[in-house]
Structures are given as structure tokens and as C-alpha cells.
Symmetry: C2
Subunit: 274 residues, 2 copies
């Protein structure tokens, strides 16, 4: 099942994709569907209004997660290009919900006097479906509602201002998330998926989630030692090689460029920079 959060005149609504249409559901967003009694499966039974998918304005599929947890340095080729050593444990940093953008939203780049080294990072996003705490591998996977595409757009100058990444990672409305939550029954454990970023149609990043150093189950298990993962939480699993910062010369997003982020089976984010 593909679930989306769509903007309507009366606010956002959750919807289920059926062919070229969105069947609207009785929740304000996909997190509401996850949280409802019976969860995602019961949502399939509600029938409502329909919208054309092509004409819909999609919001971030989870507009306001309690947590956005990002994993850094989690593909071997990206570790090498950033001059880091392969990690013995997953590297975690955060974004806040204010960072999210819709899957087709224009990205309003910040004032270049504030930051100008704005980079792409295609990532497989995991969306939690039920509380996960001190999980076994089986429990970790069972806690995953599904997956989406996220581009962890990063302001490298601010990311490198200090030792901690957060200040370069959580700029307002620069992190597209969507287009849909694709449920786990279609995707399994998130392995074996081709993932890429193109800018103006030129491939910049291309890899496969088989190359994750820590896979989805590893990450969910490890995080559940630290704290409870809650329904709607988003985990961005890290990016592969090919980021702009590692190119010679470095290459950045700029007004007029269009970034396309694709994961096999999950769809595409298409974001014009303005």
C-alpha cells in the first residue's frame, strides 16, 4: 500500500494511492493512519473522496514526526569520499520537523550570506509503525510500518562550523520526504533497493541499499537501546557516495537546479531549487 499526505483547502489529509487516484482517508496525515486503532491495515477499509494523484500537492508524508533520526557515514563509498574511517557503531544526528519539505515542493534556498554550500544526500527513510524498545531483530523489523525517500539536504559550511552536524542539517524546509509511505509488505527489510540522486538530469549518486554498513534492523535495534521509537518516527539511514562536497571542484545546489531523488519501489522526490 502507498499512503500519502495531501494538502487540501481544509488542511492536510491522509490518502491511499489507487492507480492514478488518491482515496482520501479519515485522518489528517499518514501518522494519524499509523496511530489509529488497527493501524494501517484498517485504514484500507475507509472509503472517501478521491483526488487525481497527478494534480495533488503532497506534504511530507509524515509532516510532524516526534523524531527524525539520521544515520551518518553509513555507506562505504561515502565514508571514503568524506575522508572518514569506517564506523564501529552507527553515527546518529537529528533534524527537526521544521526541516521537512514535500516531495515535489520547491526548495527555497537560504540567503547565500548565511549558507551557500548546499548539498544533496539521497537516503532510504524508515517509518516506525508501533513502539519499539529493547528490540530483538524480529521485533525491530516488526516495528517498521514502511519506507519512504528522503533527501538529507545539508548546508556543509554550517555542518563543518563545529564538530556537530546538527547546525548544517536542520535548515528550514530543505529536506524533502515522500512521496509515499510504502508499507513493509512491499519492501521487506529495505535491502536490495537501487537509490540515486540526479541534478538537472545528471546522475550524481547511484548505489544500492545492500551497501549500507548498518542495515535497517541493525539501526532500529541499536536505537531502541537508547529510547523508545514511536509511531511516525522517521529514520534516515545515510547516504552513498557522490555528494557535491566530495567533487572536484565541489558542486552545490543553486537556484534553477532541480534535484531528483529516487529509490526503487518507493518513487521519486523532484525538487526545484529557487
Amino acid at each position: 500500500m502507498h499512503l500519502v499526505t495531501v494538502r487540501t483547502a481544509a488542511g492536510t489529509r491522509a490518502g491511499r494511492v489507487e492507480g492514478s487516484e488518491i482515496v482520501l482517508l479519515d485522518h489528517s496525515d499518514v501518522r494519524g493512519v499509523i496511530d489509529a486503532d488497527g493501524g494501517i491495515d484498517s485504514a484500507a477499509d475507509i472509503d472517501g473522496d478521491r483526488l487525481s494523484l497527478a494534480g495533488a500537492s503532497l506534504a511530507p508524508v509524515i509532516p510532524k514526526p516526534d523524531k527524525i533520526i539520521c544515520v551518518g557515514v553509513n555507506y562505504a563509498d561515502h565514508v571514503a569520499e568524506m575522508g572518514r574511517t569506517p564506523p564501529e557503531a552507527p553515527t546518529y544526528f537529528a533534524k527537526y520537523a521544521r526541516a521537512l519539505a514535500g516531495p515535489h515542493d520547491d526548495l527555497l534556498l537560504p540567503d547565500p550570506d548565511h549558507t551557500s554550500h548546499i548539498d544533496w544526500e539521497c537516503e532510504l527513510a524508515v517509518i516506525i509503525g508501533s513502539p519499539v524498545r529493547h528490540a530483538t531483530s524480529e521485533e525491530a523489523l516488526a516495528g517498521v510500518a514502511g519506507y519512504a525517500v528522503l533527501n538529507d539536504v545539508s548546508c556543509r559550511d554550517w555542518q563543518r562550523r563545529t564538530t556537530q552536524f546538527l547546525g548544517g542539517k536542520t535548515w528550514e524546509a530543505l529536506t524533502p520526504l515522500g512521496p509515499a509511505l510504502v508499507t513493509r509488505d512491499e519492501i521487506g527489510d529495505g535491502s536490495g533497493l537501487n537509490i540515486s540522486t540526479t541534478v538537472d538530469g545528471v546522475i550524481k549518486q547511484a548505489s544500492n541499499t545492500d551497501h549500507l554498513i548498518f542495515n535497517v534492523v541493525d539501526i532500529v535495534k541499536d536505537l531502541s537501546r537508547i529510547m523508545t521509537l514511536d509511531p511516525g518516527d522517521v529514520i534516515a539511514t545515510g547516504t552513498c557516495g557522490g555528494v557535491g562536497a566530495a567533487r572536484t571542484p565541489p558542486e552545490w545546489l543553486a537556484p534553477g537546479r532541480t534535484m531528483t531523488t529516487t529509490i526503487e519501489g518507493l518513487g521519486q522526490l523532484v525538487n526545484a531549487c529557487i
Copy 2:
């Protein structure tokens, strides 16, 4: 005004401290008071039930902020003891709301097989009252609703597992916040306040917020370049020297120890470790 969030049989309620009593307000927590039309000032006019302050079970004063933003390496003596160089810009990392504990809650320490280097960090917490974006100094201060005490309890082994602090900073229910939001009219810009941690009555940290490298206005201004700060957001401004990790030998929290965190004018957190 001192505002608290108190646990009742029917869930949490916001309250205003009057002498030895709490006057309950018509909001489920202090964030509701901040968000209400008219904000904190209008809350003073609602009269309701009263509770004894001494017998009350206080929740984290903001139980579920959208953002908890922490500033690292922000007192010169703590920078030196941790072997870091003085920063040219504020260092930011995050906690999630799941990390918060009430001001008098017992802290249930994690399984020592998972983490055993659990340390104290007394910090002045800023609570945002109205949206702040691209702020001037005046706007930054005007966006502050008030202040509270926070202890940024840190699992040093996990903090140092990778380059990024988050994994050691956001352990479940180990970060007490409270006891009250003390409004800005009583505290001003947060400077000149004595701040300390004692463990079992022995002073471990003692400083003054005058020694912050980046002060409250600096931090709020800088963060507002990155994103909108929202009502109820919590900013922990960093800790001073005297943490357990910097002692010889290192010293950690353990079951049976009681940590007391005090800031002049804001009150005290008293947390027994179990």
C-alpha cells in the same frame, strides 16, 4: 510568574505557583499556556482548583517540546576540561522529548551492559514563547518566554562511540527539566545566575551564567538563521566545568546517588538514581 506542569489522575495540567500552592490552569501543560491566545499573561486570570506544591508530582515543565536544542562546549572551564578548543560558533546537538524527566523524578539508570558512564551537566534552559525567525537581538530576547533548569545527563560511552553526541545524549527519561518556567520579567536575559550540580550533597559543578561563551541572545539569534523557533521549544545553553568525565578518576551516577541541580531564581531539580 512560576508555571509548572503537574501530574493529576486525569493527566497533566498546567499550574501557576502561588506561595505553597499550585493554582491549576485550563491547559494540559505549560506549552498550552504559552500557545494560548494572549499567552502567559492571560493565563494569570484563570482561577481553578488548587494543589499543595509540596505534595505535587511535577512533570517536565514542557513535557513534549517540538525541539530540544542543546549547546555544547559553551563554558570556558568545561571546554578546557574536555580537551576542546574554544569555539568560534555555537555547537548544537539534539535530544528528543522521550529524554525528559520530571524535576523530582527518580532516574532509572540504563542496564549497565548498555551504558555505565552516566554523567551530570547542569544547564540554563531557555523556553521559547513566540515564533522566532531571522531575529535581531531585540527580537531574540522578546521570543523568550522564560527559563528553567535542565540537567543534560549524558552517557559518555555512547556519546564518544562516534563523532556525534546525539547517541549519548537522548537516553530515555534521564534529562530532568523544571521545576517551573520562570517568566522572563523575573530573569531578564539569563545572565548573572549562579548554577550548580551537587551529587549526594557534594558540589561537583558551580559557575555563573555570566561565563557562557555564547549567551542566550547570541544563541537564539543564531538558531533563528537555521529555522523558526516555536513556542515551547527548549534550548539548553551548555554546562560548566566539573563534570564526572573530567575528574580523576572519572566519576559516574549510580543507583543510590542523588543529583541536585540548582539555578539562582529558577529553583532546583532533585533526582535520585535508581
